[in-house]
């Protein structure tokens, strides 16, 4: 978990240009990290590449927090 979170965090910081300490498991992409829908699509692409998995559009729509992403990745690796 810790390792996945660290990797996810680093991608989020890089892509969204947010401070590292804002990227917590509870942080929501839309409100806390100020990501718009295009940012989220791009982020999911990056995560798919990084973790070598596919996140379907239906699954992607359910993602709201950083924790959701980490959990999804943990369960599908």
């Amino acid at each position: 978990m810790a390792d996945t979170f660290t990797r996810v965090k680093s991608i989020i910081v890089d892509r969204l240009g947010v401070d590292e300490d804002k990227v917590t498991l509870d942080a929501t992409f839309k409100d806390d990290l100020q990501a718009d829908s295009l940012d989220v699509v791009e982020l999911i692409m990056e995560l798919e590449d990084e973790f070598d998995l596919e996140i379907s559009d239906e699954e992607a729509e359910k993602i709201s927090t950083v924790g959701d992403v980490v959990t999804y990745i943990e369960q599908h690796q």
Binding site: L16, L38, E42
Partner: protein, 412 residues
């Protein structure tokens, strides 16, 4: 009653410098901004030279994270617009933002982004194409970004008329202010199309100079040995403002814009009619719009591309319109030094024309060595000249047969 429109701010990104004063000094010194392309492998291309923007510091204008989602052409526009707004001292606030507009065109748009994503599509499939590809690529995005960044909420549009793009943008913006729909407009053009695909396309049209071994001598408008234009990149944006608005806020006024004309050739996709009749109609319309006689024009910043066809037909059009006066007025082509910025050409050249009026110096046409009997006017060969034009015209003509001309006047 028509409102008078003046120019109060200037901004450029060019192969001869990324600010107005460096650009102008190099232009007057007769330096060439053309060099061998080093940024990518050109070994298989028939044309290996261009006027590339060097040492562009995007971080002066944009957060690096933001910049990654903005194509190079729009980055140039943002840089030029930021400079122009700063230069003008125009403060875009909540209470005036609806009266400040943006009109910045591009001939080609975000071709870097398009190409990169096409490679991704072919190699990795549609799921990897960036969601930012479309907003990075579309040619109106310079106007979009500049509006977002400056807060200008007035009239907002973009022209796409090939190499006439930014003269159309400036002319259209002038008319928007003249008719009272805005008090100020950020107007001009930007281009960043120095990529292998575009070079191959233009080269196969035989439009480009192949003087690969002598880059600085390749762009030679009106010279008998010219063999095509040299592609370049950059942006030029100016702040246009109603005279009343400029006076009310105590703005420094560079020059007045007094005429705009445009026409279509109705002739051929790329060739100009040999008699230059389309260019003639655009210039004549600009004169009529300015309510001037031909002999009132002292200087023409020519389209002067360095192609066989353009320089000959532009010369003919000037002679047709100005008659005997064509031999008395001075003409020069900035493209001899900066190359052809396509959709940014008119913007950068309009700014050079403003400086020409303000500084009382005519920039030269460099590489003018062998006179062409068919181009027999005064092109200010090789050396800048001290002269004080009162009225100057700037021409731009584009593939598709788009012709545009604006007339600027010294402000006093």
């Amino acid at each position: 009653m028509k409102r008078r429109v003046v120019i109060t701010g200037l901004g450029v990104v060019t192969p001869l410098g990324n600010d107005v004063s460096t650009f102008w000094d190099n232009l007057v010194a007769g330096r060439s901004g053309i060099s061998r392309i080093e940024s990518f492998d050109v070994s298989s291309l028939p044309v290996q030279i261009a006027g590339q923007v060097k040492e562009f510091e995007v971080e002066k204008y944009l957060d690096p994270k933001e910049a990654r989602r903005i194509d190079r052409f729009a980055q140039f526009a943002i840089a030029a617009a930021t400079q122009a707004v700063e230069d003008s001292g125009l403060d875009i606030r909540e209470d005036n933002a609806d009266r400040v507009g943006v009109y910045i065109g591009s001939g080609i748009g975000g071709i870097h982004t398009l190409l990169e994503n096409h490679i991704v599509l072919r190699e990795r499939g549609p799921r990897r194409v960036s969601p930012f590809m479309i907003p990075m690529m579309i040619a109106n995005m310079a106007s979009g970004h500049v509006s977002i960044l400056t807060g200008a909420r007035g009239p907002n549009s973009a022209s796409v008329s090939a190499c006439a793009t930014s003269t159309n943008a400036i002319g259209d913006a002038f008319k928007i202010i003249e008719r009272g729909a805005a008090d100020a407009m950020l107007a001009g053009g930007s281009e960043a199309a120095i990529v292998d695909l575009a070079i191959a396309g233009f080269a196969n049209m035989k439009a480009l100079s192949t003087r690969n071994d002598e880059p600085t001598r390749a762009s030679r408008p009106f010279d008998k040995d010219r063999d095509g234009f040299v592609m370049s990149e950059g942006a030029g944006v100016m702040v246009l403002e109603s005279l009343d608005h400029a006076l009310a806020r105590g703005a420094r006024i560079y020059a007045e814009i007094i005429g705009y004309g445009m026409s279509g050739d109705a002739y051929h996709i790329t060739a100009t009619p040999p008699d230059g009749s389309g260019a003639y109609r655009a210039m004549r319309q600009a004169l009529e719009d300015a309510n001037l006689r031909p002999e009132d024009v002292d200087y023409i910043n020519a389209h002067g591309t360095s192609t066989e066809l353009n320089d000959k037909s532009e010369t003919l059009a000037i002679k047709e319109l100005f008659g005997e006066h064509a031999y008395r007025l001075a003409i020069s082509s900035n493209k001899s030094m900066i190359g052809h910025m396509l959709g940014a050409a008119g913007g950068v050249e309009a700014i050079a024309t403003v400086k020409t009026l303000v500084e009382g110096t005519l920039p030269p046409t460099i590489n003018y060595e062998t006179p062409d009997p068919e181009c027999d006017l005064d092109y200010v060969p090789n050396q800048a000249r001290k002269a004080q034009p009162e009225v100057a015209m700037s021409n731009s003509f584009g593939f598709g047969g788009h012709n545009a001309a604006i007339i600027l006047k010294r402000y006093s």
